[in-house]
């Protein structure tokens, strides 16, 4: 099979998804927990999320599930679960040649540990790792928990991650790509003295400031992320909340001490930039794709088509480490 012919994922009924599982195919499935609970055991992993980008446009759907099949040229995958301790070995479990797909439930200890420590995990960056953070309908945040599913056992976890490790023969090679709308702006350098999902103080061009006051005084649009330059790769950290009462700012991914951030350069139109970027992408060879719920919301993607790349719109994207407001895809090509 030519990697250019990898079938894209599709939004299907739970009956259709069940038939695909029972046919023995290796699948990754995204959908509302209630829909995932209708699926039989089999060779699949899943996570909860009701937001998707499809060929018909962005949509929120709680009845159907998004199913992506492993390309036929992949070897038989192994599937495992990871808790807050064992997640540090995720990269060591990857095949010598191949890739891994990880799904982590949002707002959990394993989510926090992965977000904070993944760059230091053993053998991280040596084998392609992609994935996403499972979430919820935004109306359900206060009374439900995101889950992930281990298909072979039918177990649902709200405190562990699941991963599918996929071997490839030597003819093929997988690589991870980011599609990021944002570039660092020309504003001051922002740094933090501690790594974490929240901060009260930051250093702006070396001067200590109260971050909430700084954002307010400078009328910063917090729909735009902080962007860091990692040797040419722009990595975003998105703002989650700016709490004037507590004086605390929280983020959807951790900021790291010692990393230089800048606020993203503003876009003329978030929605147009997103569609333009997505439509310019070739879908050939894409074996995995996910995008960010914030791109869905801020880019007003509901009901709007954007390119050929489909997948879940998630609470965090994984490209080796956790990233925000970014489209992540894994490409497979012949060596």
């Amino acid at each position: 099979m030519n990697p250019a012919d990898i079938p894209g994922g599709q939004l299907v009924s739970t009956d259709a998804a069940a038939r695909m599982i029972l046919s023995g195919r290796a699948l990754r499935i995204a959908g509302e927990e209630s829909a995932l609970r209708k699926l039989p055991k089999g060779l699949w992993i899943g996570g909860s999320i009701p937001y998707f980008m499809t060929t018909d446009g962005g949509l929120c759907c709680q009845e159907r599930v998004y199913v992506a099949e492993l390309p036929a040229f992949c070897g038989v995958p192994s599937i495992g679960s990871y808790d807050v301790d064992s997640i540090s070995g995720i990269a060591c479990d990857a095949p010598e040649n191949g890739f891994s797909v990880l799904i982590v439930p949002a707002f959990t200890d394993v989510h926090e540990r992965f977000a904070r420590d993944a760059p230091e995990f053993e053998q991280m960056y040596e084998r392609p790792l992609v994935g996403w953070v499972s979430g919820l309908h935004l109306d359900d945040l206060s009374d439900h928990k995101p889950v992930v599913v281990m298909g072979p056992t039918g177990e649902f976890f709200d405190d562990q991650a699941v991963a599918m490790h996929v071997p490839l023969s030597d003819q093929y090679m997988a690589s991870v790509e980011l599609v990021n709308l944002f570039q660092p702006g020309d504003g001051p350098v922002i740094q933090f003295d501690e790594s974490g999902f929240g901060a009260t103080q930051a250093f702006v061009d070396g001067q200590a400031v109260n971050l909430v006051s700084y954002l307010q005084d400078n009328q910063i649009d917090t729909r735009l992320p902080l962007v860091a330059d990692y040797c040419g790769a722009a990595i975003n950290v998105s703002f989650q909340t700016v709490d004037h009462d507590s004086g605390n700012v929280t983020f959807y991914a951790p900021v790291f001490a010692g990393v230089e951030y800048r606020l993203a350069a503003p876009l003329d139109s978030y929605a147009d930039a997103l569609v333009q970027e997505a439509e310019a992408l070739e879908s050939a060879g894409t074996a995995f794709c996910c995008n960010c719920i914030l791109n869905y919301l801020y880019g007003e993607l509901e009901g709007r088509t954007a390119g050929h790349l489909n997948g879940p719109m998630t609470f965090g994207e994984i490209a080796y480490q956790l990233v925000n407001q970014t489209l992540v895809r894994l490409r497979v090509e012949q060596v």
């Binding site: 070995g89 760059p119 090679m173 040797c231 790769a233």
Partner: protein
């Protein structure tokens, strides 16, 4: 107990002395206590200055199948001796054990194997690696046994420059840059650069070089472009 022999085995210099050795067979551990001899106490050779109980404990190399811990009593704020049995204030391990762990890491031995080989708690080993990566350990080498005193290793591996080739230092200090769109390489190099410039310890810097080299060795296909540029710059 013949404390003089233990002092000689551990190479404990005056005014430091070994004043106690206790064994806990149930926990399979031995603890060697070291302090500074108390002056003017004739006939009480093993009396030490207590410093209000201020002390630090480091895990040292095992003795047989007994885990060995070194307790050192010292004055708050005072400098610790540059000795193999001592450690960095933030390290769980003595310098000697730290160097052994770092050396095995540099060889690419997995953390699980290191823990098993040296009888270390996996969680403690992870914390040590985390501290190394965060640059919070200021010094793990002793003056007599740093990487700079070792024989230089110029060996290339299938065209990848040897660990002591200056290209690695130039890459990790930002004096030389690579044109790359390989996300894994970008993220790894970015992390290693931060850690490399943060540490002045030769052993830790050597470990970072080995990590980058190992990535190149294991990813010849996907990092072919980057390896080519490194080879060219190393000429």
């Amino acid at each position: 107990m013949n404390f003089d022999v233990v002092e000689r085995l551990l190479d404990v210099p005056s005014p430091w002395i070994v004043h106690d050795v206790s064994m806990d067979p149930a926990r399979r551990r031995v603890e060697v206590s070291i302090g500074q001899a108390r002056k003017g106490w004739f006939g009480a050779r093993r009396t030490i200055q207590r410093h209000d109980g201020h002390h630090k404990v480091w895990q040292h190399q095992s003795i047989g199948d007994l885990a060995c811990y070194i307790r050192v009593d010292f004055a708050r704020g005072s400098a610790l001796p540059d000795a193999a049995w001592c450690g960095d204030a933030k390290s769980p391990f003595s310098r000697s054990l730290s160097q052994q762990v770092v050396s095995l890491m540099g060889e690419g031995v997995s953390l699980g194997s290191i823990a098993s080989l040296l009888q270390l708690e996996p969680e403690v080993l992870w914390q040590f690696q985390h501290a190394l990566d965060q640059g919070s350990l200021s010094k793990i080498s002793t003056g007599n046994n740093s990487a700079t005193n070792k024989q230089p290793d110029q060996a290339e591996t299938d065209g990848i420059p040897g660990p002591s080739n200056p290209i690695w230092d130039r890459l990790l200090t930002g004096q030389h840059s690579i044109d790359t769109r390989n996300l894994a390489f970008q993220l790894l190099l970015s992390r290693l650069k931060r850690q490399y410039v943060k540490s002045s310890d030769a052993e830790i810097r050597r470990l970072k070089v080995q990590e980058l080299r190992r990535y190149c060795e294991r990813n010849r296909n996907s990092a072919g472009n980057e390896i080519g540029q490194i080879q060219e710059a190393a000429q």
